[in-house]
């Protein structure tokens, strides 16, 4: 099977869908002539021309809204945020228009579109550029929220996102665009709402997504060296969430740790905890722990950033704790 980087898998997904469906277009800052700030749209302008690969001025609210308005007319926009940090200035468009228009119009209109771009901390970008937005968006009914961690998942889920009839927030990672993996040549789609067991195990369930995945896998490796077997579940889809997969694993392991990028209070991490403790109360042998950012704005300095980010070591400590091995 061909080996691709995540950025290539994303590009291929967009390219294939744009070839398949003329209604699909890509819009955002520097997606065209510049080939994307992180090169996820490399070659697409050349291939499809400026009608379908559209550079915008710095107007996140403007072009998010254009995407929404175009989707209501039957087009299928892909809106790239250079990073999801910049979606903060378009928050209202996502909250009040994208998420609600189908409902508000009583189904007269649909909003089939994708907002995509890198999310969460990269490396030393400071507090304004290091935020995890699933914790805001997965709260909102009417949206779907996806986070990817491998080229295979990125391609299969992005194609699904582009074909979905709902607004989808598709979260990538600047740090992981170069991560390589096998991607089949033949077409495939990955359905939403299905978690993926990235590492099977018996003693502790580690639930994770996005940039948390490599952290969790590394932690599981460290745990294995201590004879602690972890099952690493990559949620991939945060809304809808594969509750069944989580609960099945927790019923087996009786212990869970959630590893992710983002602040601790509220957000998807607490959501996972709330579901587990309710749906598997009698199965739990220990509280569900979260390993995420410290509750602090992200500093630029490398040593401080590293302390705040969830690390395999911190995840391991939590895994040990829920397994009462410390």
């Amino acid at each position: 099977m061909p080996i691709l980087q995540i950025r290539q898998a994303i590009r291929d997904a967009m390219k294939e869908e744009m070839e398949r469906d003329e209604r699909v277009f890509l819009m955002g800052e520097e997606v065209g002539y510049y080939n994307g700030a992180y090169k996820c749209s490399e070659g697409l302008l050349d291939h499809f021309g400026p009608k379908r690969v559209i550079d915008t001025p710095i107007t996140e609210t403007g072009f998010a809204g254009i995407g929404i308005g175009a989707a209501m007319c039957g087009l299928r926009p892909i809106i790239e945020f250079m990073t999801f940090n910049f979606s903060a200035v378009a928050f209202d468009q996502i909250l009040n228009n994208a998420a609600k228009l189908r409902h508000m119009t009583h189904g007269q209109f649909a909003v089939p579109m994708v907002f995509r771009g890198p999310n969460a901390a990269a490396h030393m970008l400071g507090s304004t550029h290091s935020q995890a937005f699933e914790h805001f968006y997965a709260h909102i009914p009417g949206l779907k929220v996806i986070a990817v961690a491998t080229p295979y998942d990125a391609k299969g889920l992005l194609k699904t996102a582009i074909r979905d009839e709902n607004p989808v927030l598709f979260l990538e990672s600047e740090l992981m665009y170069s991560v390589k993996g096998e991607v089949p040549e033949e077409e495939y789609l990955i359905p939403f709402g299905q978690a993926d067991i990235k590492r099977p195990g018996e003693q502790v369930t580690v639930i994770t997504w996005g940039q948390g995945v490599p952290v969790a896998l590394k932690a599981a490796e460290l745990a294995a060296a201590e004879d602690l077997s972890c099952e690493v579940i990559d949620l991939r889809s945060l809304r809808p969430m594969d509750e069944a997969a989580i609960i099945a694993s927790v019923k087996k392991t009786n212990r869970a740790v959630v590893v992710y990028h983002g602040w601790p209070n509220g957000g998807v991490g607490c959501d996972v905890v709330a579901r587990i403790q309710e749906l598997a109360f009698d199965d739990l042998d220990a509280p569900v722990l979260r390993v995420c950012y410290e509750d602090l704005p992200m500093p630029y300095a490398e040593n401080l950033e590293n302390l705040i980010l969830p690390s395999p070591e911190r995840a391991l400590a939590a895994i040990r704790r829920v397994a009462y091995k410390r």
Binding site: F63, H103, F109, R239, M241
Partner: protein, 349 residues
């Protein structure tokens, strides 16, 4: 009637047929009577939430309907009943929406602030000030992309022009040369605040140059002048892909919403504007220029009142949405019961 007023009136209606003026009058009156009935229903507690009436601005919606072609789109605000009525939405469905009934324009889920009637060209109905401007630009973008030849007409209040999304939508429309007309309905107030305290300039169209737009600005006193000048802008959008910013100077005779007694303005001011009320002026023209008998005018009014009475009676009697209706239209896949088994409504698997 003083001579100057009469002269202006004659000039306004110069060349218009009796039938045309009657039609315009009738259409404006339909909106007014719809709104008056809404106000009464609100007072009787039949309508809740916010209710923003279009009384005084009716000529704009009527002119818009005439100026646009089938397929063109109107995108507007929470003050949007006027457009619905003018565009031909079923007044029963409109009234039922205000009452939160299943037969409402949007199934009772939107209420007064969120009217949509796609079939008739009413593309909303937006209640967050200014956030429909980028969306409207998106409709115009879609027209450009598909070449469907449609024009989008995007309305907003004078109070909206300071907010960021308006600027961003206009910036995009300007760069992309989208087939769109932006219309500011300057009714002198943003809630309780007169223009001069919310705008750094008097002339809103002074913004047009900064976006590369054409512009126009005038007092709305009659349907036909408004239709003509809107029409020019629509043509410019359709033929040349050049956006226009139009400022329509008008007045709302009621408070901002039903909960606003409008104590911030003097009776004299309101009276002054009443002289320019396009509906009153049309009536005056019909009486004086076209010599339409009182009787005929009364009959028109009665027919309209009867339509509205029927609409509001329908609304009153219509059933509320079924409880399960709340699960509809949230997600495309069908009824949606929430994402977690932990918080799913009782009785739902």
């Amino acid at each position: 009637m003083d001579a100057a007023y009469e002269a202006k009136l004659r000039a306004d209606y110069d060349g218009q047929s009796r039938e045309d003026v009657l039609r315009d009058y009738r259409e404006m009156l339909r909106i007014r009577r719809f709104e008056e009935a809404a106000a009464r229903a609100y007072t009787r507690g039949k309508i809740s939430g916010f209710l923003h009436l279009y009384i005084g601005q009716e000529a704009i919606a009527v002119a818009t309907k005439q100026a646009m072609e089938p397929g063109d789109r109107v995108v507007s605000t929470y003050r949007t009943h006027g457009f619905a009525v003018a565009l031909g939405s079923d007044t029963k469905a409109c009234a039922a929406e205000l009452f939160g009934k299943a037969a409402g324009l949007v199934g009772g889920v939107g209420g007064s602030m969120h009217f949509f009637d796609k079939e008739r060209g009413l593309w909303g109905g937006y209640a967050i000030v200014g956030n429909h401007i980028p969306v409207a630009a998106g409709h115009a973008f879609a027209s450009q992309y598909t070449g469907d030849g449609r024009v989008t007409l995007c309305f907003m209040g004078d109070g909206a022009v300071g907010i960021g999304p308006v600027h961003e939508g206009m910036t995009m429309a300007g760069i992309m040369k989208l087939p769109i007309v932006f219309v500011v309905e300057n009714n002198q107030y943003s809630m309780g605040t007169p223009l001069k305290r919310t705008l750094p300039v008097e002339d809103i169209t002074s913004r047009a140059a900064g976006y590369g737009f054409a512009s126009d600005r005038f007092h709305v006193t009659s349907v036909q002048e408004t239709r003509r000048r809107l029409g020019e802008a629509i043509e410019r959008a359709r033929k040349d892909g050049k956006p226009t910013l139009i400022e329509l100077i008008t007045y709302r005779f009621r408070g901002h919403s039903m909960s606003d007694p409008a104590k911030y303005r003097q009776k004299e001011e309101v009276d002054r504007w009443r002289l320019n009320d396009p509906l009153e002026r049309a009536l005056m023209a019909l009486k004086t220029i076209y010599q339409v008998p009182e009787q005929e005018l009364d009959a028109i009014d009665e027919a309209i009142v009867a339509e509205m009475d029927a609409a509001y009676e329908f609304a009153d009697k219509a059933p509320a949405p079924a409880p399960e209706a709340r699960f509809d239209n949230v997600m495309a896949e069908g009824p949606y019961y929430g994402d977690s088994a932990t918080t799913r409504p009782a009785g739902v698997e």
